[in-house]
């Protein structure tokens, strides 16, 4: 194979272009792929986070990716880690990166919460379903993201941030959500995280 490439490439200039094109059609081609290399240290290759802490951004809805980046960059969603990286993303081109991550096939997290927690979470999820849907798929019109298959540690942490009003503190559109979260005991937040993490 390699010999063939070399022979063709050295005999025909057109061949160089074609073969180089074929040879370089790797998973890192495309404008977003190279720019997204900065993200994989925390979010995993292609945004497929292997940890319990960092969210999976493979397959993310573009509207939600952009909102998150804009909120982080503006300091509305306070994060010492994501604020600088969000500014990097805006600098590099948020549309390219959104398109790249949206195009990645999402695998659910490898983290496995225990079945009892999942069942308790399912029983407690009725109010969440009003915005996130019975399936947990979310609803762009309501600004609700897809929660399915995210690491339970990440989901739990975000709910605790809402409860403590540390995520988007002054955001009027999140007032009802935060009021609801304040009524949920921390243990139950863990159960809800387990449930939504288990959804496919």
């Amino acid at each position: 194979m390699r010999t063939t490439i070399r022979l063709v490439a050295s005999s025909l200039s057109l061949g160089v272009v074609l073969v180089a094109g074929v040879a370089a059609a790797g998973p890192l081609d495309g404008p977003g792929a190279a720019k997204a290399l900065a993200c994989s240290a925390c979010h995993g290759p292609g945004g497929q986070s292997p940890s319990n802490t960092m969210p999976i951004i493979a397959g993310i809805a573009p509207w939600y990716f952009k909102k998150a980046i804009e909120d982080y960059a503006a300091g509305r969603r306070p994060s010492p880690e994501m604020e600088p990286y969000a500014k990097y993303v805006i600098q590099a081109g948020v549309d390219d990166l959104a398109a790249y991550f949206t195009g990645q096939a999402r695998q659910p997290t490898a983290m496995r919460p225990d079945d009892a927690a999942i069942e308790r979470g399912r029983a407690a999820s009725k109010q969440c379903a009003i915005c996130h849907g019975e399936s947990g798929r979310g609803d762009a019109a309501k600004g609700s993201p897809d929660l399915r298959g995210q690491p339970p540690g990440y989901l739990r942490h975000q709910m605790l941030l809402f409860k403590a009003d540390r995520r988007n503190p002054a955001d009027e559109t999140l007032k009802a959500l935060k009021a609801l979260m304040k009524t949920v005991p921390d243990d139950q937040i863990g159960d809800l995280a387990a449930y939504y993490s288990s959804l496919r």
């Binding site: 998973p27 986070s49 960092m54 600088p84 590099a92």
Partner: protein, 424 residues
Amino acid sequence: MTRLTRREFLRTSGTGAGLGLLAAAGVAGCAPAIKGDFAPKAGRRVVVIGGGWGGATAAKYVRLADPSIEVVLLEPNQQFVSCPFSNLVLSGVRSIDSLTFGYGGLRSHDVKVYHAAASAIEPDTRRVRVGEGYLEYDRLIVSPGVEFQWEQVDGLAEAQDRVLHAWKAGRQTVQLARQLEAMPDGGVFVLTVPPVAYRCPPGPYERACQVAWYLKTRKPKSKLVVLDANQNVVSKAALFRAAWKDYPNLEYRASNKVVKVDPSTREVTTDFGDRVKYDVVNLIPPQRAGTIAVQADLVGADKRWCEVDHVTYESVKHKNVHVVGDSTIGLPVPKSGNIANAMGKICAVAVVHLLNGKEVPSMAPGNTCYSWVNDREAIAVVNAYKIEGGKVVQIEQKLTPSQSAEWAQHADGWARSIWQDILA
């Protein structure tokens, strides 16, 4: 980590004669007789020198970016031991095993891992010398890490077996942990910080936290003295100083450069002539680029660090030779594992574009750096960069507002993710 561990057992079973030889040599841990061109190049080939955070990442990502390019990685160590988190081995919070990984994941990407050291680089003939033999390359990526300037501290070269640096995670990390454990309560642990530039700017101060935490909880009559060659804490200064309020057993002395060590009297001497007695000393020596970079004339006039193009990481001194990681200088970035990983990825993509005759995309690295201040809390600094006029420029630096268990959880997530980014 499950994924990494599983892959350790999925050894590639030799794909082709010369390559099989290399893979087998790597697995068996003994090199075959190396003479002449011991693995003749059939197609395009990238050779990577050094399988640390920069080199291992670069090797993997060249294969990901263009599987038609052969990649040979030269790394003398059989296993990868993470420097980030290794300070936690000193306090007993982490085991060295939890930071140790094999190169099986890279082999599954068909990186030909060869456990040998490169002895010379010949840029004119595009060859890397290994023992009595050589390898040819189209492009070379050098990620040699740091070497210690033993001669900068009187008495250090002769005392290397007793006066430990533990600044390359592995055997010395475990030895230093044992020395700390064996130190009598009431003893003095002296930690010395070298002048900038050195690997991992916050590392010595995180180590101070871990040693002080261990002493506070296990040997409460003992004391830690930090002798810093620099005028102030080099990184995350306010956060470290806040953390040290919990450690009355920690005495920090700025502008105290250690110039001499004498294991027979168990004392170090500073450039002001002050002598400090120790029961255990951890002397982190001044540093420069890894030896191969100096021998191959990749370093600048200072004979310490390698200047590179900010977009391609090609050496300013030799064509077709790229340098990544701690041995580089001139970019406004710290010598951190996250930066080395980022440089490895960017350089890999640049090398593939160059080999394919395409325009290299301009990409900047990023830095995410956590430090543990006790057994359960951490702090962090994050830097974002952009390319402007062909140079890396910082967009912003952010610090965590305080220490907390939240950042420690993020640190765990980061480590789990980035180890896979490098090796899996």
